[in-house]
Amino acid sequence: MSGDKLTLKQKFDRWMIKHGRVLVIGLPYFWLFLFFLVPFLIVLKISFATAEYAQPPYSALFSWIDEGITITLNFGNYLFLLSDSLYATAYLNSIRIAAISTIITLLIGYPMAYGIARASGTVRSVLLMLVILPFWTSFLIRVYAWIGILDREGLINAFLLWTGIITEPLIMRQTEGAVYIGIVYTYLPFMILPLYSTLEKMDVSLIEAALDLGCKPWKAFLKITLPLSMPGILAGSLLVFIPAVGEFVIPELLGGPNTLMIGRTLWNEFFANRDWPIASSVAIAMLVFLVVPIMWFQHIQSKQEEGQS
């Protein structure tokens, strides 16, 4: 009998072969489930609560009355969001500002990605590195850099006053234009990298063939390059658009008091007004709009992965 007894190590190995796969999947699954998915359900729950002067500052949804559980749902927060035009304005502003910034980023990023993809060996690696480097350096500092440039006492105004082109400083910071500059500037690498990776994989001989057959270059671009780079355009645009809708730092530091964006509204509801339920319903309202682009983004990501392997 003793010969059949397994050593601890053998037992462990058998157990690992049987359950190892579950363990490897389970650990990150559990973590992301608990710290990424469950929180949204709690936000949804608290968006139906009422604000109270308590710790934490919201009412309980479930209560025991007469040995039965009572659920008190309060739709007031959502009705309030609909009734106060401030929220609708912030909501629409965010979508508009994010959409326009995405288009500008695409217009600047596309030729850059194209140029990098067509560059030769070493030049290409250096250029690619130059795109990645700002992506790693602090986001906050890159936004901050524009304060010094666009401010009333900033570099552009100082220069223009010195040359005598203007006599009064221009107001450039605290405008919507400054928010566009900030978003385009900080998100540009997110646009260039996916564009580059689709353009780099493209078969150049297709274009050469089209040109040999007498196709005009712009037509070859529209008929071949543009459709083939569509996955990159979509991935890059969603990588810019989705976070830009909820952007807080850029409108706060570069935008004016009138530049209402939904991320800023959420922040103020939470930190300044301490109204957690309203902040939660603002978050849910934002998510409802973003769910489709986020799922689209995930779809593109998984399709690209399948194409690679």
């Binding site: 490897v24 709690i42 140029g115 602090s138 906050l140 010094g148 986020i294």
Partner: protein, 277 residues
């Protein structure tokens, strides 16, 4: 015609890179300006660096940020590596769509939503099971680990799917256990990706303002929170000095790690060329 096209591309690149780099360079140059006014150059000086290092609040916040960054990058690597492995090597399993969604969504999710939702989770958990007791460094670390793990998973996954599986298959055919295959073969091959994933997580954690602001408690002010509260009031020469130090450190780190990765890839291709001949 092609001459015209390449002129257009070159000017697009020049304009684009100028746009990306001039603002950063201006911050670096003006960090050495002697005057308090940021726009008027009054002379070269390093006094803002001196005053930065004697700012105790700033130093404490920097320590907090570094501790959180190292811890969450390490945890994110431990969680993101199996996640990337699962995505590229495990084929279909129940709940795969949800899993891939939970990896893709944190990359684009607006930070205000992630921050608020995590805070509400921590508050609810504290009410229900008494953990986490209060908020501080540990809650910020958990929050950062979560979104950094998604980045690590993507980096590892894309490295693995671009990799040849023949060595792993040969080891499997020879009867090696899956865990052994992973640690002896897969892990050394994806080491550059792991290094990149760790560094990316570390810098993302070091840089995060919004999520940390939601889940921070008293006494856990991080560097971005400190910078943000001072930048709100306008440009400050001390922040210019800090920005310069951060940019230089990050650039040095990136250059060094990409040199290391380049060298290891060159060695590998040389080794495989020798094996073939």
């Amino acid at each position: 015609m092609s001459g015209k096209r390449s002129t257009f591309l070159i000017s697009a690149l020049v304009f684009g890179f100028a746009f990306l780099y001039v603002p950063i360079l201006l911050v670096m140059i003006y960090s050495f300006n002697e005057g308090k006014l940021v726009t008027v150059w009054t002379g070269f000086s390093t006094k803002w660096y001196v005053s930065l290092f004697s700012n105790d609040g700033m130093i404490d916040a920097a320590w907090n940020s570094l501790r959180i960054g190292v811890m969450s990058a390490t945890l994110a690597l431990a969680l993101g590596t199996p996640a990337g492995l699962v995505m590229s090597r495990f084929g279909r399993f129940k709940g795969r769509t949800l899993f891939s969604g939970m990896i893709a969504a944190p990359l684009v999710m607006p930070e205000v939503i992630t921050g608020l939702s995590l805070l509400l989770l921590f508050v609810t958990l504290e009410q229900m099971i008494g953990w986490p007791a209060g908020r501080g460094i540990s809650t910020i670390t958990i929050a950062h680990t979560t979104f950094c793990a998604a980045y690590v998973a993507v980096v590892v996954q894309s490295r693995l799917s671009g990799m040849d599986t023949s060595v792993e298959e040969a080891a499997m055919d020879l009867g090696a256990k899956p865990a052994k295959i992973f640690f002896v073969i897969t892990l050394p091959m994806i080491l550059p990706a792991l290094l990149a994933g760790w560094l990316l997580s570390f810098t993302l954690s070091l840089d995060d303002l919004v999520i940390a602001s939601f889940v921070a408690g008293p006494g856990s002010t991080t560097l971005p929170m400190k910078v943000f509260s001072s930048v709100r009031l306008g440009v400050s020469p001390e922040i210019n000095a800090l920005a310069t130090l951060i940019i230089l450190a990050v650039s040095a780190m990136i250059l060094l790690s990409s040199l290391l990765i380049l060298r290891s890839e060159r060695n590998r291709s040389r080794a495989s060329a020798q094996a073939e001949s």
